[in-house]
Amino acid sequence: MRRAGSIWVVGVATVLLFIGALPGRAQSEDALQRELNFCSALVKWRFSDYATRLVDNLEKNNPSEKGRLARVRVEILTSQGKADEARALIKTFPPDSTATYGMLLALGDSLYGMGKLNEAKAVYRGFFANFEKGPPPEIAKFYQESAYKYSQMMAMTGNDKEALLAYEFVLLSKPEPDVERRLQIEMAELCLKVGRQESGKVRDDYFARAKKLCELVQWKGLDLWFGQSVVILAHIEQLKGNRKGAMDTITTYLPMLKELDDALKAENYPLKLSPMAQCRYILGTLYEDEARALIVEEKKDEAVKAFGQALNHLYNVFVKYPDSTWAPDAGARAERMATDLKDMGFKVKLPEINLAPVIEAQLKEARLLFSQQDFKAACAKYLTVLNVFPEQPGSVQSLGELGQCYLNLQDKLFMRVVVQELSDRYGARANFRDDAGTALVRLARAAEEINDNESLAFLNQLFFEKFSDHKQVPSMLYQSGERQLEKENYDLAVSYYSQVAQDYTNASVYLASLNRLSLCYTKRGDWSNAVDVLTRYTAELPFGPQLASARFRLADANRQVDRLIPAINEYFKLIKGLTEEEAKYASTPDEKAANRKLLEQAMFWKAYCYSRLREPADKVSSHQAQAAEDYAAFLKMFPKSELSPSALSSRGVLLLILNRNAEAAECYDRLSREFPQSEQARNAVFARGTSLLEMGQKDQAAKVFEEMFASPGKFGAPQFYQAGRVMLEQNENGIAIRAFEQALRGKPEKALEEALRYYLGMAYSANGDTRNVIRHLEALKALNASSGFTVEAGFLLSKAYATMGKQETAEEPRLKMFNSAIRVMNQASRLMTKPEERARRDFELAGIQILKGDPESAIASHQRLVLLSDYGNAKVRPVIEQAFEAVMPLLLERDMNQDLMDNATLYLQQFPNGRLMVQARQWREKAQQKMAMAGAAPVAP
């Protein structure tokens, strides 16, 4: 008697042997073959023209290999629909050579690949017809591989009878005995399949043939093919309606199957390969069928016995072969049967089974497929396991991985199905909730990895909404904030960081969130909120370089909102800390260097703040004196600072105001001596005027600029231009216009003239002088139709024409003006390459339509922006927000309540921290009220 192990060794050897015999196996490749394989691949990818060129080159270098090259040429020609040319090419070679047959079958394969099944069949049949009694030994291997390949081709296309015939051809090649047994089993399976579709004698013949093949296999040894033959024989009986016969078949062979099973166990091979699992599964189903039939016949005692057998077999498959293909079905079937039995009034006591190893075994395969990125196959496996073992420990993780499979397949619908189950069902149960949240987090990360921002946003939102108590919420919020910050979507970033700052004060990312939040406010120019956040941040931070930096930013934010006293206080604290307790704020040389820079800036800006203090009025002089002192202290400590020229210039002005003229002169001397190339030194009058303006001394500044206008010859066009820009920034439009016009009279070079014309247009526009806007901006257009100012000038000019049009009462000139407005916008539009410019164009266009008295068109333009714009683009978002602001009153006036409500809801979703939030809620309420009063359908429950 053979050892159990040896049986299995035979089985494994058989498998390996046959794999070796499969057609298309790896051949030892020479360089030419590699090139030819590449050519074949090119043909498959539909690059047959490239393949032709490559083959031509190969032929030049390998003139003796025409036969091998011709095989690829056949593929190329067939792919180009030139099968006749391919056949002609084949005929130029000796008819009986292996190379010629290879070409011929390559033609057959190509035809098969193109779906020309009959032509492919004809080619293959033609080949087999040459060897009716089997192939000669010299081509036996090639013949065998080709015949097997043909059988697979036919089976794959459902031509099972032709496939069976192909197997006969394979057998004609006299394969090795082990290969022959495998072929016989495959043939028996095919006979079973074909027989099942037939009836009467034909069916019986096929079954008889299958049986014969199984017997042949069984005579030659006990291995996996033997086990398979038992399954086939049982199936035949089952299909014949002979349940008892099927059961007997399996039962008869069970001792042998057991021997095989033991052999597998002894050799530590996976039991999922054992035919026992399938046989017992079949046995279980047969017993179940019998039991149900007995119930119908009201033979309850016998039915109970049969049910018992069925449950035993199915549970055994489930538990003993957990990783087999049959286990999940066996488990599910057994569970179903138990439920049915209970419903029928039976008491069923099932064995207590630890499902964990069974689930784990089943999931192993799913996870392997998942790790191999075979997501489609993994989905099927996960679904099987999840449906057989729902709501078990580990189900959540599997569900999450299933979601990731769908995500990677970009099947968003099915992904949402999975996500809904995770959040709605598992998320609602205490024992699964935490894992469900974690699964969503992982899914979100997977979305991020593949740059699927839409899914990422959806998953994050869902996570925050449904799992607000999950431990990873703060870090996820922070990461979401970081993503929006990177995209410069500051308002959205604020919404994430704010949540951490408000609700998760113990989280590790709390301080980092405060820091980022203040940065976002700063970037948005929302200094007031920046002050609030930085105040919290500095209060929470321990000593160190971060505190120094935060305090400086707090001081700066205060300065930006003209809260000069708090700014001075913060600068003071910082200066004190960095000078008197330096060690507390820095430990490394880099930190010390950074703090030194902060100190420099803090001292400068503290002086600046004092110079700007206007209240109380009776203290202004003392503040100015303090500012002069602070500038002096700064200049003493940082004499070579980049800020020193500005400090000298400002201090000079302050001293002049304080009538300390000698000291002021010293300042200006030092400025021209030490910083002769500085802007302040070269344009001392201009610098003085600017400093005065910055200190709020507008009258004195105007006087200084008058000095420039009084002697224009002393100043060049660029200086007047610069003065004009400062005036414009300070909203001193009149003086700005004078400065720009003066610069223009100086006949500046083209580039400066363009700038002057543009800023003149802007200044005149601010003054409401549309005619001069048109004059200068039309001149700019004539000067250069595509300058850097064209887009912005287009907006201004278009609006100017529209304003003129509105003022016109006569129809013809009115229309002419509006047409000009549109024409100018269209011209500028050609240079608008950025989404934000196009968004602004639509917004401005709506403005023109309003001026024209066409609010309906304006609504349409605004709605385009609201509904179709890219909310993810940080530069477009402000324009969209403006559009909301403009269109909502128009909708309200016209009782377009559904649009009003939809817009308000959209706004609240997209701008969770937007400046129109309160208004948006009011708009929505108004719309709801109006709809309710109008008797509209209620909102969905």
Binding site: K300, D301, V304, K305, F307, G308, Q309, L311, N312, H313, Y315, N316, V319, K320, A332, E335, R336, L341, G345, F346, K347, V348, K349, L350, P351, L383, L386, N387, V388, P390, E391, L399, L413, F414, R416, V417, V418, Q420, E421, D424, R425, A428, R429, A940, P941
Partner: protein, 264 residues
Amino acid sequence: MKKTILSGWPLALSTVLAMAAPELRADRVIMKSGQVFEAKSIRFKPSAQEYSVVTLDNITTPIPAKNVEKVEVPKPAALAAAQANVAAGKYDAAIGPLGAIITENVGLEWDNTARDLLGQAYLGKRDGKKAVSIYKEYLENVPAEKVSLDIRRRYWDALKIAEMFPTLKNDLEKVIKEGSRPMAALAQMMRGEMYAAQGQKNEALLDFLRTALLYEDVKPIQPEALFKAAQRLDELRDPRAAELRKKLAQDYPNSPYAKNAGGG
């Protein structure tokens, strides 16, 4: 009476089946402990939450309801007629007797059978509010795990007819979260239908698909889920509609949904 039958296979694992004896001889109280008392008569006292049991030897014994698994008393004579009337659509004829059965059989199981029939009668009359009130009583009397899918579905139908949509939605969502899997699957289908009726087709599709995809173990609901999911996928021209229909035809060939699914 138990009958232990099986342990055929030589392996260690075995299942045990026992046949329950269905014949009834007298009133019976079946305790949670498994003990059974035969009785001449049984009454339920709602105020005391106890059963008053007159034993075969004429001793009256109070038994706390919390210790009782179930009671078995003969089916009220009028119930069959009422049932027939409901089935025949003669709702008004059924309503009075059913009310009486409920009153006379409080706590004796048949009251709930009568309640269900009464609910069905009101549903038949499209009187949603009354049906809701009856089913609410039923749900208060029967532990959640013992409420059948059919009864839960009828309760939801009643809420729908009564246009009590917020209550319906809340109940569905509660069941989806916390109910047994069969109940949750049914609730998902109901919610899907509700969404579909409100034109929220994508939401409806999600519920149908979720049931078809992840509640395959709930066999009774599968044909409907596959059918409805396929319908919605068709609207999206999603080729997977055909896959679902194929599954419907293969796995549930006898379901009416499979018969209707043919053309899609």
